[in-house]
């Protein structure tokens, strides 16, 4: 099992050079059955990451480019009257896929955003009074441009909470960029990629995540972290129970990726910025810095 995971990480690493940590985070997010929000400038490889994940995991992959005039039906699908059969037939929207890349989600109107987010949470859509289950596994990678850019609608906190993680890719390292210049073509690599796992195997992997052990010592540490976010004067709003659970799940997936049967404090610390960063509200400042300070203030062993 571990071989498969390291093979997946390695494969994606060929496409997305020097971003192993982010790749692992994305993989952990997927294994923890969460959705991923990538916030970065255009051209940093967001789409490449999503594409590579879909490719290597053997998932049906669809991509939606969000625009300001999009309607919910453009994502979910629409019932169209067919003359031949004399009936309405439901044309599935892009949401009916295993891996959905929702590009630039914050460019669309809140109405459309919430339609997608509802589907993410419920893992089903209701159209014309009929409930349709989304395929399993269902994984959304949404990208958003930094909010300062024009033509964006900020995602409200309640909807940010639906994403298990928020990561940003950042500029590539010098070596990675040099390799890029030297003609490593990610697209060609992408095309050559073969699935390392099928959806059955993926579901099994997801099941294994739940078997990763969280000891009392670790839960103590988790509790202290959560308490800190709720009591510290720095955090406007502390982590919700859903946020705390998300942290635990993500840490489990991270431990699994690192071939451990139990969670270590390092696992929590590794996923903490990604899981808690967008959930903690600060007064204008960035949640990531807050999380960084928090990791240094809350001791792992003693209160």
């Amino acid at each position: 099992m571990q071989k498969i995971i390291s093979a997946i990480v390695e494969d994606i690493g060929k496409v997305l050079l020097g971003k192993e940590h982010q790749v692992k985070l994305a993989l952990a997010c997927l294994l923890a059955r969460g959705h991923l929000l990538i916030e970065d400038l255009p051209g940093m490889g967001k789409t490449t990451l999503a594409h590579a994940l879909g490719q290597v995991l053997g998932l049906s992959y669809k991509r939606v480019q969000f625009t300001s005039d999009m309607l919910p039906a453009d994502i979910i699908g629409i019932s169209i009257f067919e003359r031949e059969s004399g009936q309405f037939r439901f044309h599935e929207g892009p949401v009916f896929s295993q891996l959905l890349l929702a590009d630039e989600i914050n460019r669309s109107s809140p109405k459309t955003q919430s339609a997608l987010l509802e589907a993410m949470e419920e893992r089903q859509v209701s159209v014309d009074g009929e409930t349709r289950l989304l395929p399993e596994p269902f994984f959304v990678i949404a990208t958003q441009n930094p909010l300062q850019q024009s033509g964006t609608f900020a995602l409200p906190e309640s909807q940010l909470d639906r994403f298990l993680m928020r990561i940003s890719l950042g500029y590539p390292t010098r070596e990675a960029e040099r390799a890029l210049f030297k003609g490593v073509d990610p697209r060609a690599e992408l095309a050559q990629m073969t699935p390392r796992i099928n959806s059955e195997g993926l579901r099994k992997l997801q099941g294994l995540v739940h078997q990763v052990k969280a000891s009392d010592s670790l839960l103590d540490y988790l509790e202290r972290l959560v308490q800190h976010t709720r009591q510290s004067a720095e955090c406007g709003v502390g982590l919700s129970p859903r946020g705390a659970l998300a942290l635990l799940h993500a840490a489990r997936a991270w431990a699994l990726i690192h071939n451990r049967g139990h969670i270590l404090p390092e696992d929590i610390q590794a996923v903490l910025p990604a899981v808690a960063g967008h959930r903690l509200q600060t007064d204008g400042g960035d949640g990531a810095q807050l999380v960084e300070r928090m990791m240094h203030q809350v001791d792992i062993i003693a209160a």
Binding site: S217, G261, H262, L264, M295, A302, A303
Partner: protein, 687 residues
């Protein structure tokens, strides 16, 4: 400067003001009795002014008004008392300082000052009274003052429940300290004696006796003496507590020249009697009776004891008249130990000195001719002193009545009593007896004191009340010396045997508002209460330096600085240690899992080796840092960390054992020393 002084200087919280006033009122209340009324009025005025300031209706008084107030107060004190170095003016000075402080009670510092004064004033209460009710009231004062101090902290602390609760808690915590200090604090004598007020009205035996005095006393059931015996107890008819001897008669009043005023000037030694005075007069054989007398405040110097007594208590001495006196008026309860030898057992002086003879035969030049004639007639019949006495007592016994309400007497009191009214109280009998005996040429004197007493709590002590006041006579017989003769016994023997109540029956305490003495239950309750008071006095108030020494000796064996230090230090040390342990335990929070405890020990050792774990640093990261900064320890640290991670997070018991073993053998400093690598002192590696 500092926060604390800044806080003290800051303004007084408004709600605390009422607390300060309440504390002042509680402390001043018992003093209202003896403080001049203008002072109490001034206090109310000052409080009123401060309240007006508080409500914003009036400004804080300026310098001129304050100065005027000080001048007025000082003038008032000077006019009221006319002397400074006495107790009452001092208390009044404290009270007036309260009053004046009130008008400039602005900051916390002022309030703290005022409350400290209140503590002091509360303590002065015990200069006046030391009884149980006052002690309880003193505790109440402490509670209120401390609550007021608590209320000064502001922000909700002024709420009655909270302030009082905290105050009571604080005081309760101080009780052990109080008890220890009560026992071991050295009892210092007063540095200077502030004269007590001698003008206070006194009930009890006074320095003179005229008809009617003792029947007045018989209306009071206040305690006068409490006497506890050590060993044998005299029989009831021998319980004559002699207080004062009257030798001078002016025709109406018996008195003792020289005993008035604060000090006893009437020590008449010399005159050939000095040989009989002092200890050498007392026999070498042990005293028949040993007892302790606790005397209520009488504001007179004379003390009470059986005939022929001696006392070792400081300040007590004997007089030539065989009585005991104190070196100053007894202003508050006084305890003194007495040894008494009955007269029969003491050697007899052969004769009275001429001066003593004159003194004890003194009579006014004129008056009471009938009595003089009667005495002369007996003398002419050839009777000796004893026979004359017998004849007179027989006369009493024949036709006299013992009553608390004798008819009024005119100028010749003795004549009228002996030959006309023939009804009287003890002083009438003593008066007429001594007069007649002197007229017959027998040296005689009136003795005033108490007779009898009532047992309390299975003969624990004898309670003598004011209504036990009694007057009797003593005559000089050449062969026997001074002999007690109680003329009252001749007419009403039950008075001597059973006390006043049975002797006068209906007349007893007739004027009392409530005839409580007729209800047995109430009497028992009163005796109970008296006993509680007695024990309070015995254990608390009279705990002086001697008793302290005795108690410490009993506890410590011997009193040496080392033992005292141990006696004080050990409980304090034990208490502090207990507190420390308790604080540590309560601060630790829930117990850590064993693996974490062992790992923390590892971290401590690493810190001693110069590489402490940073807060929030995960074990794995720490191990990598150790590998990087102290490579010699790297492999060991990695193994320990791996074991810890499996033990704490994988819940593996084997790993826990391994971790224990590894950490037990992990001494980074030794290992580094062996390798010759100096421990890197907290170096931070810049990569």
């Amino acid at each position: 400067m500092t926060d604390a002084s800044g806080q003290l200087r800051s303004l007084l919280p408004r709600e605390s003001l009422l607390w300060v006033f309440a504390a002042q009122f509680v402390v001043l209340l018992p003093h209202f009795v003896h403080l001049p009324s203008w002072l109490i009025f001034a206090w109310f005025l000052a409080v009123l002014w401060r309240v007006e300031v508080f409500r914003g209706r009036r400004a804080v008084p300026g310098r001129a008004i304050k100065l005027l107030a000080v001048c007025l107060a000082v003038t008032g004190l000077a006019l009221t008392y006319r002397r400074w170095f006495a107790l009452e003016p001092m208390v009044a000075l404290l009270a007036i300082s309260f009053t004046l402080k009130n008008i400039e009670l602005l900051s916390r510092r002022d309030a703290v000052l005022s409350l400290m004064l209140a503590y002091f004033l509360a303590a002065t209460l015990f200069v006046f009274e030391q009884t149980i009710p006052y002690a309880l009231y003193g505790v109440l004062c402490l509670v209120v003052i401390t609550a007021a101090l608590v209320a000064l902290q502001g922000s909700g602390s002024a709420r009655a429940g909270r302030a009082l609760g905290l105050s009571v808690k604080i005081l309760a915590q101080s009780v052990p300290v109080m008890l220890i200090l009560f026992v071991v604090m050295p009892r210092l004598g007063p540095l200077w004696a502030v004269p007590n007020n001698s003008a206070a009205a006194s009930t009890g035996i006074s320095d003179s006796m005229s008809p009617g005095d003792f029947s007045q006393l018989s209306k009071s059931d206040k305690p006068a003496l409490r006497i506890s015996f050590d060993g044998s107890v005299p029989p009831p008819e021998q319980r004559y507590w002699r207080g004062l001897v009257y030798t001078h008669f002016d025709g109406r009043r018996w008195s003792e020249p020289g005993v008035t005023g604060n000090r006893w000037f009437g020590r008449r030694f010399g005159n050939g009697q000095s040989g009989q005075d002092g200890d050498d007069r007392l026999p070498a054989v042990g005293p028949r009776y040993r007892y302790q007398v606790i005397q209520e405040a009488s504001h007179n110097p004379w003390l009470f004891a059986l005939a022929t007594s001696d006392s070792d208590t400081r300040g007590v001495r004997s007089t030539g008249d065989d009585t005991l006196v104190y070196h100053m008026p007894v202003g508050s309860r006084l305890a003194y130990d007495v040894r008494s030898w009955p007269r029969e057992s003491t050697p007899v002086a052969s004769r009275l000195s001429p001066a003593e003879q004159r003194r004890h035969l003194q009579l006014p030049d004129s008056g009471n001719p009938q009595a003089r004639a009667w005495a002369e007639a007996r003398r002419r019949e050839g009777m000796d002193s004893q026979a004359i006495s017998q004849a007179l007592l027989a006369l009493y016994n024949r036709s006299f009545t013992y009553t608390l309400k004798p008819p009024a007497l005119g100028t010749d009191t003795v004549d009228e009593f002996l030959f006309d009214t023939q009804q009287g109280f003890c002083e009438h009998f003593a008066n007429s007896y001594v007069f007649t005996m002197r007229a017959a040429g027998v040296p005689a004197r009136v003795v005033a004191g108490y007779q009898g007493g009532e047992w309390v709590e299975q003969q624990e002590y004898l309670l003598v009340r004011q209504y036990d006041a009694h007057a009797w006579a003593e005559i000089w017989l050449p062969e026997r010396g001074w002999v007690r003769v109680d003329p009252t016994a001749a007419v009403a023997p039950e008075r001597i045997r059973d006390g006043l109540q049975s002797a006068v029956a209906e007349e007893f305490m007739q004027d009392a508002l409530l005839p409580l003495h007729k209800i047995g239950f109430v009497n028992r309750l009163r005796l109970q209460w008296d006993m509680i008071n007695y024990r309070w006095y015995q254990t608390v108030v009279s705990f002086d330096a001697d008793r302290q020494q005795g108690l410490l000796k009993r506890w410590l064996g011997e009193i040496s600085p080392l033992r005292i230090a141990l006696f004080l230090g050990v409980p304090v040390a034990v208490g502090l240690l207990g507190l420390l342990i308790w604080l540590n335990l309560s601060a630790r929070g829930p117990a850590l899992p064993p693996a974490s405890r062992v790992y923390l020990r590892f971290c401590q050792r690493m810190a001693r080796a110069g590489l402490p774990r940073r807060p929030g640093e995960a074990p794995g990261d720490f191990a990598r840092r150790i590998e990087c900064e102290l490579p010699a320890l790297g492999p060991m640290a990695a193994r320990i960390t791996a074991a810890y991670e499996r033990a704490a997070y994988g819940d593996s018991t084997d790993a826990l054992k391994q971790l224990r073993r590894l950490v037990r053998g992990f001494w980074p400093l030794r290992q580094l020393a062996k390798l010759g690598t100096a421990p890197a002192p907290r170096q931070s590696v810049g990569q």
